[in-house]
Amino acid sequence: MDLQGQIIQYLATGLTLGSIYAMVGLGFTIIYNATGIINLAQGEFVMFGGLIMVFFTTTLGLPLFLSFFITLALTTGIGMLYERLFIHHPSKTAPLMTLLIITVAVSIFFRGIAMFIWGKEPYSLPHFSSPEPIIIGGAAILPQVFWILGLSLLAVILMNIFFNRTITGKAMSACAVNRVAASLVGIDVSKMVLLSFALSATLGALAGASITPIALMEYDRGPMLALKGFCAAVLGGLGFGTGAVVAGFLLGLIESFTTGFISSAFKEATALIILILVLFIKPSGIFGSAEVGKIKKI
């Protein structure tokens, strides 16, 4: 394999990983903006996305695309239920630290539920289209990679349109800037928070359903994904959606190219060191503004 082929291969791998991180990171950002909460159960949305999809395609034998949409809907429902049961009430009084720990407790609880339904083994899904790799410039790339990339880009674009072009989206952005002011101008903040969890869960489900064919899924995959997504969200400038997406892709690429050209032993360390250097040099992340992180004190 020549250098060009290698680079294309690493690029494809990096973008695949990156799109997962990007979607989880974007999910973090949406909830953070609406509530100031870092939702550490974000990875569990991905896990549910993958496993619910497995249930409908493999166990019930429904057609792929039908079960895909059912999966999105169900996971969104889980996200909304989560918000109403565990966030809605305490978010009015509890300190942010407690809310953070509540999300950890929820993630433990979700893992428990998933373990009961699906057990501990990993599951796989059929590829959305052909499982045969396509050869591009000497590199072999699975069609599923294009699905993942396409779906994540579509999601990002839709989110952008939603936040910038629709009234509801703008109302949500307003909540992000100032909750009190938003409620004063008649925005139903509580509904916006609910919506943020719904959207975030949908994104998670999308990521989960699309990666399971190549990465498998099991009940305790969540925390790792949450960690990576959190990094992406901060690196991109907490509270800045597009930043999180770009940073997510960046993280994926860093990991993949470090593996290729330095050492796979340090792929995570390289990503983390870059993250920390960015924080030390420009605490607001690569794309963020200085104020966002400061406003919401823990």
């Binding site: 609880f109 960690l227 959190f230 340090f266 992180g293």
Partner: protein, 316 residues
């Protein structure tokens, strides 16, 4: 420190002395040893987060530095346990200073992610420095703690060691809270601008308290290593930092006693839930959620509050 706290320390010392008369057996005492170890780390976190208002999502790394320092120095360099202990403390202080100086300039979530990232890097180092740490397979055969050549062979000895050390740590911490330094920390937590205007050197105090909490974690880690005799990087990963944090939040980080209660409860609970076999993860999660939802300020504040709310409505 007020009389009240001396009283509490005395009561605690009495309880510590009496407990082995009631509780016996290696297993039960081991739970108590782990409990004490966790308490140490969480008391440090309480000082750092509850009092000084600085967040750390990477404290398991300091726990690990303590454990690995004693582990490596005793098994591979034949250092005496006490020297290794001291080196652990020095080393974790050093690391805390090096990362504290740039990190503690950050605020809120940025500090959170920075500490998390550094914690993960240290975890990766544990994993990759196979020659020293044994890598993911871990480091085994760490010698038992000993006093004057008599090795600790039973949990009861560790029990007294851990809880004795914890008493000293609590005494030190309570003294600190009720002193000029403690007031400065609380002031900083209340308002950084006002604290600065009162002549409080914010960055110096942040670093001092960060180092102190790292030292507590390191001592706990060293004892852990000698007690279990085996350590692997897994015990010092991100989720463990979160677990320490969770213990603190459950008990109430704003009060040292809350930290002690939280750590005790969260160490004890999983053992108690063993009877539920595999359901324990669900029940554990549910109990945790219930505590957090109904007592957002933690156990210590929450129980009396709930009590007043539901049983003494008339008096309120």
């Amino acid at each position: 420190m007020g009389k009240n706290n001396y009283l509490k320390l005395l009561v605690m010392a009495a309880i510590i002395a009496v407990v082995p008369l009631i509780v016996s057996g290696d297993y039960h005492l081991s739970i108590l040893v782990f409990m004490g170890i966790n308490c140490m780390v969480v008391v440090g976190l309480s000082l750092l987060m509850g009092y000084a208002g600085q967040i750390s999502l990477g404290h398991a790394a300091f726990f690990g530095i303590g454990a690995y320092s004693t582990g490596i120095l005793t098994t591979q360099f034949g250092l005496s346990i006490y020297a290794a202990f001291l080196c652990g403390i020095l080393f974790s202080s050093l690391v805390a200073v090096i990362i504290g100086i740039p990190a503690l300039r950050l605020q809120g979530h940025y500090l959170a992610i920075a500490t998390l990232g550094i914690g993960e890097i240290i975890y990766i180092i544990f994993n990759e420095m196979v020659g020293l740490t044994g890598g993911p397979s871990g480091l085994s055969n760490i010698p038992a703690f000993h006093v004057g050549g008599y090795p600790f062979s039973h949990s009861i000895q560790y029990y007294y060691l851990v809880w004795g050390a914890l008493l000293v740590i609590l005494w030190f911490s309570l003294n600190l809270i009720h002193s000029r330094v403690g007031r400065a920390l609380k002031a900083m937590h209340g308002s950084e601008v006002a604290a600065g205007a009162m002549g409080i050197n914010l960055s110096a105090y942040k670093i001092q308290i960060f180092v102190l909490s790292a030292i507590y974690a390191s001592i706990a880690g060293s004892i852990y290593a000698h007690f279990v005799s085996f350590i692997a990087p897994n015990n010092f990963a991100f989720m463990n930092s979160i677990m320490f944090l969770m213990m603190g939040v459950v008990g109430g980080l704003h009060n040292i006693w809350g930290a002690v209660m939280g750590a005790s409860l969260m160490t004890f609970l999983p053992e108690y839930l063993r009877v539920f076999k595999e359901f324990d993860i669900l029940i554990y999660g549910a109990i945790l959620l219930a505590i957090l939802l109904f007592m957002p300020e933690g156990f210590l504040e929450g129980i009396p509050m709930l009590y007043r709310k539901y049983f003494k409505r008339g008096e309120a």
